[in-house]
Amino acid sequence: MFQVHVRTRINGDDTEFSCEADETLLDALRDRLGLTGAKEGCGTGDCGACSVLVDGRLVCACLMLGAEAEGCDIETVEGMADGSKLHPLQQKFLDHAALQCGVCTPGFLVAAKSLLERNDNPTEEEVRYWLAGNLCRCTGYDKIVRAVLDTAADMRKASKPKPAKAKKASAKGRVSA
């Protein structure tokens, strides 16, 4: 078999691996690099359990060859938490019980993160359409959608320059004047 040497960045770390020419990125991640967060559900791009970001773009790792990853920046679910501090989406998925068996969860987390990076205030419909390529057979989706919307609301609050405080300050200013 024709081996390909691939140089990438995975979750911020320069990473090199060798794989067979017809090996998918998903197999390379799981079997060569031990990154087993991305799951193989269908292997044909229908379920989204293997969702990863490649150069910031959400893709199915099963629909891409490892060889295609040369020079790419790859983000997997393993890169979401900061040490033991969970990503807000991960925490909300726990709070909302947005998972049962957990096989689809890494894919949903990566896909939802990609959505919130593009749109910090998605409607429920936008969330459902964005996540239509991620299948879950346990939750009925509702808890997942609520977890994503709740995370978006929290992240918006956290990133706002606190207009309430600013108002107070100006009111105070008027009083003293």
């Binding site: 067979e20 099963c62 891409m64 060889a67 964005w130 390529g133």
Partner: protein, 287 residues
Amino acid sequence: MEYFAPASTKEAVKLLGTAKGKVHVMAGGTDLLVRMKGGYTEPDAIVDIKRIAALRKIVRAGKGWRIGAAVSAAEMGEDKALKKAWPGVVEAANLIGSTQVQGRATIAGNLCNASPAADSVPAMAAVGAKAVIAGAKGTRKVAVEKLVKGPGKTTLKKSEFVESIELPEKKKRMGDAYLRFIPRTEMDIAVVGVGICLTLDAKGKCMAARVALGAVGPTVIISAKAAKALVGTTVDDAALDALARACAAEAKPIDDKRGTKEFRKHIAGVLARRAAIIARDRAKENS
């Protein structure tokens, strides 16, 4: 299997001509990898065209557009000017698969995969898109509907590949639209797809029209009768009824698990009617 990622069209053409055995061109790979996984094809070599910088871009070609064969559907959706010019084509591209699939899939690949149900093909055919084909003797252009010979078969010769798709200039009072029917809301294969492009005159009368029907024949059907039903009218109810009848008559579908012949013929008419209204309204907005 060998994997090649040439940096130029010339190099790609050379590889396609010299590689031994079964050679596949790869753009997004979202169809090719599925076929490999299912054992439907076992390539001896893959020529990945995504490393050819020129094929990663959407550029203006004269007054029209050139969409590189390695441009993803998602990238098309993010190009505001392209979306404004040919919303039907961009919307069709953004119906292919999921968000994940759209991150990789290309309209050139959608065309060359030669599925009768390909979403972007009727939309492209309606606006008169051309495939730019690179080969050993340089490039040639063919209308997209001429590239597909039948399910899974194209007219491409060995060492040829589609390097870009050209869309024509969007003139005043032109509008396009693509609609498809699927039993779900998302992530499904068209049971019927209809692409329509029409041009109105200053008084709102239809001067020219192209109607392309997908998934109701082995290849996309360009219906001259359906176009005739619109030309010379204001695309009013009577014209839309005639359009629907023409599309139902021209559709040559098969019966399968996704729809019966009778149902598909009926839906071809219904979708054509709705797509013509959208195209007409877009043409009016563009006056």
